[in-house]
């Protein structure tokens, strides 16, 4: 029972972080039909930026977080403008490859600035163990779950209440109709990339606080694929629920079965979902079928 609780909480933490990373991925896909293979690198950059702000410049973590998020917004907008805009109307493989190229470039930049070795991260969130129902859990993990949930709530509010959020949904739904209603589609694409960078940067900061920073954080870029396929590529609630399901499954298989099965199980699920229900749990049922 204690192990179960422990695994559940670990799974929820990882799931919440995965959900945040997947959220950005879904945003970009929803708005512009682009699959972003550089999402893991966005997370990596977020983690290293907060590391630089807190450890190298000695700022308070709230101020550091604000600056990190501002840089993330700038980065997202720049990437959309310089790299993705020329790719509009190009075949799918070109769009996939350009984000793959981008991921190599970003990883190289991060490694050049901060080196290739994992660095410890002095936690800015309390880490002492907390007893919950008999299981011992680091408080930072609880904080991570809380912050991730809060962020997901904020994003949800953004999409249902704010003008920009509603405009983004309109563009995702029908670009031509949105354009004729006076919405600037290119503006919305920039928003999507900026928000994706922000949600990934927050996920990166949370991961950095728990396990430290290192180049292997970019692995999250691959780990979001099972999440978004399970939840549905164009569904924001899907990204959240998919993230939590995959996070829990990884934790349970890692804890009870082991053998590294937790690394491969999400991808087996991915293949199964693609064969049975390619639009995932919550995605729209319009799908390219052969």
């Amino acid at each position: 029972m204690e192990l179960f609780l422990q695994l559940t909480l670990t799974g929820l933490t990882n799931g919440a972080i995965l959900a945040l990373a997947a959220l950005g991925f879904v945003l970009i896909y929803k708005a512009s039909d682009v699959i972003n293979f550089a999402q893991g690198e966005f997370l990596l950059i977020g983690a290293y930026l907060i590391y630089a702000m807190v450890v190298q410049f000695g700022l308070h973590w709230t101020l550091g977080m604000v600056i990190t998020l501002l840089i993330a917004v700038l980065l997202g907008v720049l990437i959309e403008r310089l790299i993705l805009r020329p790719m509009i109307g190009e075949p799918l493989i070109s769009v996939i490859m350009v984000t793959i190229g981008l991921s190599s470039l970003l990883r190289a930049v991060v490694s050049t600035i901060w080196g290739n070795l994992p660095q410890a991260f002095p936690s800015f969130i309390p880490t002492q163990a907390v007893q919950i129902l008999g299981a011992k859990v680091g408080a930072d993990r609880l904080w991570a779950i809380g912050i991730a949930m809060l962020m997901l709530l904020v994003f949800n509010l953004f999409f249902s209440k704010s003008k920009e959020g509603i405009a983004m949904r309109a563009v995702a739904d029908d670009q031509t109709a949105a354009l004729s209603m006076g919405i600037s589609v290119s503006h919305i694409f920039a928003w999507a990339w900026a928000l994706a960078a922000v949600s990934a940067a927050i996920a990166g900061a949370l991961v950095a606080n728990i396990v430290g920073v290192g180049p292997e954080l970019s692995n999250f870029g691959l780990r979001v694929f099972p999440v978004v396929i399970l939840g549905g590529l164009d569904s924001i609630p899907g990204a959240i629920i998919g993230g939590i399901i995959i996070g829990l499954l990884e934790a349970y298989t890692g804890g009870y079965i082991g053998q590294g099965l937790n690394q491969v199980l999400p991808f087996i699920i991915l293949i199964l979902i693609l064969m049975i229900r390619p639009y995932g749990l919550f995605g729209k049922e319009i799908i390219e079928r052969v």
Binding site: I35, I83, P86, M87, E90, L92, I93, S94, I96, M97, V98, I100, G101, L102, S103, S104, L105, L106, R107, A108, V109, S111, T112, N116, L222, F225, P226, I229, Q259, G260, Q263, V264, F267, I268, L270, I271, L274, M275, P278, I287, E288, R289, V290
Partner: protein, 347 residues
Amino acid sequence: MISGIYYTSYEQDMALRKTPAQRIRLAILILLLLSFPFFASRYYLTLANQVGIAVIGAIGLNILVGYTGQISLGQGAFMAVGAYTAGILTAHYGVPWWASIPVAALFTALVGTFFGLPSLRLKGLYLAIATLAAQVIILWIVTHWKAVTGGVEALVVPTPKLFGVKMNTDFNFYWVIWGIAVLITIITVNLFRTHYGRAFVAIRDQDIAASVMGIDLFRYKLLAFAISSFVVGLAGALLAHYRTIVNWERFTMDVSVTYLAMIIIGGLGSVTGSYLGAAFMTLLPALITNLGRAMKASFPAIEGLIPFIQLAIFGLVIIIFLIFEPEGLNKIWKDIKDYFRLWPFSY
């Protein structure tokens, strides 16, 4: 003064080499390939062998991605299947190295066809993600099935010998690699003159139209996966016997991405493009390393940065090509030829 290439007979139109210039270029290329090992140093021979293996792998991937339009992110894993099959057959079962290569390629074709099955239901993006999953799953099996593959430790393959001569020297294996590369080139160029090849291209251009015209999508897509994986498996098997060591780290996702970059930078759906891309992507990191070493005297810090510079330039080259020349090196090569053929009236 010629203003273009015109044909007066059907045979001319069907010929693989249509102009005297093409025939002369081919003759020069063959001469270069045949004489290269006799004057090149060991370093350049090693590079030539790496390019040769990359050419075979790139042609294999281009058959699937460039000609048939099925995006695959699983190239690295399929090469791993070829390399490990060849390595295990020779190391554990005593199969001669030359026999293990075709067997490994056939087995890779089988595995490739299996992972091609989702293509019957999915296309485009979803197929790309399915092959990504195939890459992760196959590599996981390779690193966790210790009894057969040796897990994360490298699999050591016995030195290949032919009539008592050690074959895995750069000079001797050059002939093996480039012999197979030339053979694959001839087969591929001709494949796309048969109705199989034409069917692949039709599926790429418009699958519904292809199906209406009587092309069995099920059969031809699987066939494309099989042929492509066969060639890719060949490249993997050659790599195993050339290096005499098989290590899972040589077949990661990065390898899949590198091969995709080769065919995109070279030119999708073109054998010449596969050659140009494979050479470019293999020689570029070597060039950067050499430049970095040369600059070490003035910038001592540069040596540690070389891997990062390679990675950054790799990413930059992909982005720049896709934005400015999406049809790749093959298009640039064509433009150069056209310029000189039509000079001075190039418009």
